[in-house]
């Protein structure tokens, strides 16, 4: 506690003593329910979350927070690093990027480190979530895009300097976080320094039914970074940023190992120019480098004395993009290209201590694996009378290779052999929006997004990377996956009544990347406690359908509220179910129209708030009701998940110009519950529960 106080006071004293402080920035108080900031003229759903909303809750993890957006869910394996899922699309099916184009290759095969875990919520300016394969300028997009935009410095008319500091505490976990930012500059040169620290203990599930459980979910993270900006002349800027994010002893009870350490380095150089001529309106060029060093082991597990597993993986992504925006009368065109080069290398060392002897086996997870992707993209926007048109095209050339020496061929069937592949992928989308009455818009969007298999799907060797209890084997000859999607959306906006939208979508995914079991006579698992080995394969086709509904009141009233609801339904026309008797696979059967695994159930959230003290104090109460998920994958022996209802309360108080407090209680009735997408505790059939009742407070000082 002393350290925190010293940290905050130190920065405040430092910044207060800085000369030329002009307190121009104000703490904006937003209505802080998760309100879909839907752009009504886009033919697809794009949700934007602003930093004020991020600061108002108990956010220890961006992925966890994203679950509050309708039809965005997440895979939980531990206390942090919830892996976002959009309408049932997950992992590489969604394109998660930083700052409009920086890509990070997660090093951990178990996805302990999804991209969203490499950014702290306190460093985020806003988050854009785009559902569907419609926005193609950020890279291949199959199920959606999540763009995490970090806070960046900007020029000032004359030298200024500002700072903010945040301290947050949560009960249950006894978790605390601290974050500070200092930024300033003048017309030409400007900068930002930022850093944060969070330390959370193990959480307990709810105790309402008197059987709360403590889950090994503690974690410790710290990060720091700097951005330097230079504006050589008006409308031109160059930004160079450097960030490091570190994780230590992050426990994942739903995985066979925990994260011992994770060290991530991000470097990005941006050049931006606007209004270059009557036609060229913008030019954005970005070059980035990201590197993740990840170490995980089972030293926190009971089996460490007899069997030790240590995996070390290094993942590097170097790339860039250039985009030019042009406008000729009412026609807007964006064209550009992007490139990424991913290198991944890692090995697992197993040490077995049995019968008084030590046996060590080292096996590679990836062996100098490499993927390169170069893409050309174009976007076109125009309008005519009451119509608006958005269209996008993308052409990708993707190639992959590896230095793997594994050869797995049995009975003339090649399971793992030729490790080189290359693909040319074409993606296209188009949508129209018509204003059929004042404030009432109807949209139709059609798109086909194609993405190549990722590094894990191509080359991983025997790690438990799926939702089930199997080791997975990559398949270097996987084909690209294609999502053909149609969205119909109705949006209505009225200054008095509020904002409303209703969306329905259907996705037909061809060459869906799923997995099938492999016989133990072909390959045996390498992870303790797993049932066998699955290999990634292309499934001919699967389908997703569902929709979202949202309504929020306008901000003009003292009181307000919102209602959101979302639903996704999936099916696979034909799938093999393996019959397991005892420890043996004794047969198989073909199932028709089975569900896909890890599809979120129907849910709705209702929120009410009331502004008092001229809007400085805003209490809010929200109820989240989630239905049972009974449409589960029979082929995968996926269990059904019971529904639940939660009540949360929060309050935000802008005490004075410089100080604001956000506090609240989540899961007021201390329910013991788990989301359908939460993974099972390793070695058991029980799911990882969500935290029970949590009281939290965030204090923010900004000058």
């Amino acid at each position: 506690m002393k350290r925190i106080v010293v940290l905050i006071v130190g920065f405040l004293v430092f910044t207060l003593e800085s000369k030329a402080q002009i307190l121009k920035d104000t703490v904006k108080l937003m209505p802080f329910e998760i309100k879909d900031s839907i752009n009504r003229k886009l033919p697809y759903l794009e949700t934007t979350i602003q930093k004020e909303q991020l600061e108002s809750g108990s956010i220890r993890d961006v992925g966890d927070f994203l679950r509050s957006i309708p039809n965005v869910s997440g895979v939980r394996k531990g206390g942090v690093a919830v892996d976002p899922v959009i309408r049932g699309f997950k992992f590489s099916q969604i394109n998660v990027i930083l700052d409009n184009g920086v890509k990070i290759e997660n090093a951990c095969p178990n996805r302990m480190d999804p991209v969203s875990s490499h950014v702290e919520a306190e460093d985020v300016e806003n988050i854009e979530v785009i559902k569907g394969p419609f926005v193609l300028k950020y890279g291949p997009a199959l199920g959606g895009v999540i763009n995490l935009v970090s806070k960046k410095p900007h020029p000032f008319e004359k030298f200024e300097m500002h700072a903010d500091a945040l301290y947050g505490f949560e009960t249950n976990w006894n978790g605390q976080k601290e974050h500070v930012s200092v930024w300033g500059g003048n017309k030409k040169i400007y900068f930002m320094l930022n850093g944060g620290y969070s330390d959370y203990g193990n959480y307990q599930s709810g105790n309402a039914s008197r059987h709360d459980t403590t889950f090994n979910s503690s974690f410790r993270k710290y990060n720091y970074g700097a951005t330097l900006g230079y504006s050589p002349k008006k409308n031109h800027s160059i930004n160079l940023s450097y960030n490091e994010i570190h994780g230590r002893d992050i426990l994942y009870p739903a995985l066979p190992m925990d994260e011992k350490s994770d060290n991530t380095r991000l470097i990005a150089l941006d050049y931006n120019a606007v209004d270059l001529s009557n036609i060229i309106k913008s030019l954005n060029v970005k070059i980035y480098y990201s590197d993740v060093d990840h170490v995980m082991d089972n030293s926190h597990r009971s089996g460490w004395d007899s069997k030790q597993m240590v995996s070390v993986v290094d993942a590097m992504n170097i790339g860039g993009r250039a985009e030019m925006g042009m406008q000729i009368k009412k026609h807007k065109v964006f064209v550009g290209l992007d490139y990424e080069n991913i290198n991944k290398d890692g090995a697992r060392t197993m040490t077995m201590l049995m019968m008084g002897t030590t046996t060590i086996k080292k096996a590679n997870l990836w062996k100098e694996a490499k993927t390169q992707n170069i893409g050309l993209f174009a976007e076109y926007k125009t309008f005519f009378s009451y119509w608006e048109l958005d269209a996008a095209l993308r052409l990708d050339y993707n190639l992959a290779s590896s230095e793997d020496t594994l050869k797995l061929i049995k009975n003339h069937i090649s399971y793992f052999n030729d490790v080189s592949s290359n693909y040319i992928n074409f993606s296209i989308s188009a949508g129209i929006t018509k204003e059929i009455a004042k404030g009432l818009y109807v949209s139709l969007a059609l798109g086909r997004g194609t993405r190549s298999p990722n590094m894990l799907e191509r080359f991983i060797k025997l790690m438990t990377v799926g939702y089930d209890n199997f080791d997975y084997l990559g398949n270097p000859q996987l084909k690209p996956e294609n999502n053909n999607e149609a969205d119909i959306t109705i949006k209505y906006s009225n200054e008095k009544i509020g904002n409303f939208y209703l969306n329905g979508f259907y996705s037909y995914v061809q060459d869906y990347i799923g997995a099938i079991m492999l016989p133990s006579s072909v390959v045996m698992p390498q992870t303790s406690g797993v049932l066998g080995v699955k290999q990634f394969v292309n499934v001919k086709a699967v389908g997703f359908t569902g929709g979202e509904f949202g309504y929020s009141t306008t901000e003009k009233y003292k009181w307000g509220g919102s209602v959101v609801a979302a639903f996704t339904y999936s099916y696979i026309p034909s799938v093999t179910k393996y019959i397991v008797t005892g420890n043996n696979v004794t047969g198989d059967t073909l199932l028709k129209n089975d569900a896909l695994s890890e599809i979120p159930p129907l849910e709705t959230t209702v929120s009410f708030f009331y502004k008092v003290l001229k809007g400085k104090l805003v209490p809010k109460i929200s109820a989240r009701i989630v239905a049972d998920q009974r449409h589960v994958s029979e082929a995968s022996y996926e269990p059904y998940t019971p529904g639940f209802a939660l009540l949360n309360f929060s309050i935000k108080y802008n005490i004075i110009k410089y100080v604001s407090i956000a506090a609240g209680v989540n899961n007021i009735f201390d329910r013991a519950y788990y989301e359908h997408l939460n993974r099972k505790i390793i070695g058991t059939t029980g799911k990882l529960f969500e935290p029970g009742r949590v009281f939290y407070i965030n204090v923010k000082v900004k000058i």
Binding site: P519, S520, G529, V585
Partner: protein
């Protein structure tokens, strides 16, 4: 308006052409199959094994008991009367049997077995050199059969753990284990003096194991291990001579291996 319609039509046309490629249907003709299940029984002198009871006497006159019995059989092969063979490896090719784990005492084979008459069954007792890979098993109970790397690695083929009454009437433990043997320089039993390894797995031809497979029916075949046979024919195995542990004693394991040819017999076929 005309332009808009043209644009939409072009999109749908492209979408339809590009999005509706189909794969040819696999037209593998259907064959007729049945299933097979193996049941494992363990006898001493023709009676079911009674563990933890010093009631047995072997050919060497040792009074002994069996406390634990675990082993692997692999590469089970069914010999069809038409001269063809069916190797059971559709799902697994190495099967673990443990008298303490009832789930291992029967093996519902995944493979579809072509219908017909089969003359006999053969298998490898233990695991062949090519398949006996260190750390290939990661889960109990198989993982507990690990054979130390310095002694040749891989896994035990068999463990019979028990006790015998020695010549001084003292009850001693024996670990009657079979796995990869070692040859030691100058017969110095020290891991540093190992100069070669010996594969001790062997092939078993099950006598009187003819059977038929009928369409969509499961044939159950009992495989019997006659435990006393490990200690006789052609060699008399004397615990008093070989002592408690034989993992580093290749001559003892060689005797066990050679005694193993008639340990297995065929029981009930139904």
């Amino acid at each position: 308006m005309k332009n808009k319609l043209l644009l939409l039509a072009a999109f749908f046309a492209f979408y339809g052409l590009y999005g509706c490629k189909d794969k040819p249907i696999d037209s593998n003709p259907a064959k007729e199959y049945g299933k097979i299940k193996f049941n494992f029984t363990h006898l001493v002198a023709g009676l079911p094994l009674e563990k933890d009871t010093m009631k047995y006497i072997n050919a060497a006159g040792n009074n002994y008991e069996v406390d634990q019995l675990m082993y692997f059989i692999s590469d089970v092969t069914l010999h069809n009367s038409d001269g063809t063979t069916k190797l059971i490896d559709g799902w697994k090719d190495i099967n673990y049997v443990d008298v303490d784990l009832s789930s291992t005492l029967s093996w519902n084979v995944y493979d579809d077995i072509p219908i017909g008459t089969y003359n006999s069954i053969s298998f490898t007792f233990g695991i062949s050199e090519a398949k006996n890979i260190t750390m290939m098993f990661v889960n109990p109970p198989d993982v507990n059969m690990m054979w130390p790397g310095v002694l040749g690695g891989g896994y035990h083929y068999m463990m019979i753990n028990g006790k015998w009454r020695d010549t001084a009437n003292v009850i001693q433990n024996f670990d009657f284990h079979l796995g990869i043997g070692q040859l030691y320089k100058s017969n110095v039993i020290n891991t540093d003096s190992i100069y070669a390894f010996v594969q001790n797995y062997f092939d078993v031809e099950l006598p009187n194991s003819s059977f038929t497979i009928e369409k969509n029916k499961t044939r159950e075949i009992e495989i019997i291990m006659n435990i006393e046979s490990w200690f006789e024919t052609p060699y008399i195995y004397d615990h008093n001579y070989w002592g408690g542990g034989i993992m580093q004693n290749q001559p003892a394991m060689q005797m066990v291996k050679e005694n193993g040819f008639d340990v297995f017999t065929t029981g009930l076929i139904q």
